[in-house]
């Protein structure tokens, strides 16, 4: 399965800013089972602080999916997240994403294509709050679908 190598390094359009609310952080904490008291409550600056993994809830624009291979059944194969600064209620988070790698692997179940997409999350002050490397895997058509 050939894929367009020119996509590597391509930066997709930034998302519209997403306003982070205390309510959204609270709902996330409840769903996660976060009860430690360290998150979901006001920090020293008075703003409600989100658990670190809240960083993976921000979505890429559809532009990414228009360019990258969409064949067979796709899955999230894993993530690498660097937490640089806490995300707080009142923040407005924007993502920009770049294709870092695309490669194929062949195993017992056939050939799969991996796409590594790096998303950088910035707040309204332009400060980077996290990097998220998404590892998507697609099983190529006709192979174990």
């Amino acid at each position: 399965m050939a894929f367009d190598q020119s996509l590597i390094g391509k930066e997709f359009e930034a998302t519209q800013p997403v306003a982070v609310t205390a309510e959204a952080i609270g709902a996330f904490c409840r769903a996660l089972g976060e009860e430690s008291g360290s998150y979901g409550w006001p920090g020293p600056d008075g703003a409600v602080i989100a658990p670190p993994s809240f960083a993976v809830t921000f979505r890429n624009t559809d532009a990414f999916f228009h360019y990258t291979p969409r064949f067979g059944r796709g899955f999230d194969a894993g993530k690498e997240v660097e937490f640089i600064a806490p995300i707080r209620a009142g923040d407005e988070i924007t993502l920009t994403s770049t294709v870092r790698e695309m490669y194929e692997k062949t195993g017992r179940s056939g050939t799969m294509t991996f796409v590594i997409l790096r998303s950088t999350l910035r707040n309204q002050r332009g400060e980077t709050v996290a990097h998220v490397d998404h590892r998507f895997v697609h099983r190529n058509p006709g192979q174990g679908e």
């Binding site: 996330f28 999230d76 993530k79």
Partner: protein, 144 residues
């Protein structure tokens, strides 16, 4: 532990265990997590939709697994000044709701210069199969 109840760097040793913590995520909670995160794929919400994709039923989002393992580390750090700096996860197998899962962690490296700690983290099922594996880095500020 510090007076405030948080983990201190000086108290961390290679081999320290995080957990295990046993949990069962029911379907309602799996759906709730997916909804809160805007993950609208049928595979996270509806058994029929999941079966149409060749799955036995709804699955727990990978992000949820990452969140649970992140929480394992932040709970271990507790209210101290140490923080979760990084986590990487690999989803080796589907994680299904209504099954007994256990969350595990194990300190593999302590780096005095950077005051950081490397931790292996994973989620096991009842058969001790590691469904999700990963590594995390926690760092502590000077003097903690």
């Amino acid at each position: 532990m510090s007076a405030a109840g948080g983990k201190r760097f000086a108290a961390v040793e290679i081999g320290d265990a995080l957990g295990p913590h046993e949990i069962v995520i029911d379907k309602a909670r799996a759906r709730e997590y997916a909804s809160v995160c805007g993950m609208d794929s049928g595979r996270f919400h509806d058994d029929e939709a999941a079966r149409a994709e060749g799955l036995p039923g709804i699955i727990i989002p990978g992000n949820f697994s990452l969140g649970l393992l992140s929480k394992l580390v932040t709970d271990w750090l507790s209210a101290g000044r140490g923080r979760l700096k990084r986590i990487g996860t690999t989803y080796r197998a589907m994680v299904f709701p209504e099954r007994r899962l256990s969350l595990h962690g194990f300190v593999t490296h302590v780096e005095p210069e950077s005051r950081s700690v490397e931790i292996d983290v994973w989620i096991e099922n009842e058969d001790a199969e590691r469904l999700v594996i990963g590594t995390a880095t926690a760092e502590f500020p000077p003097g903690d």
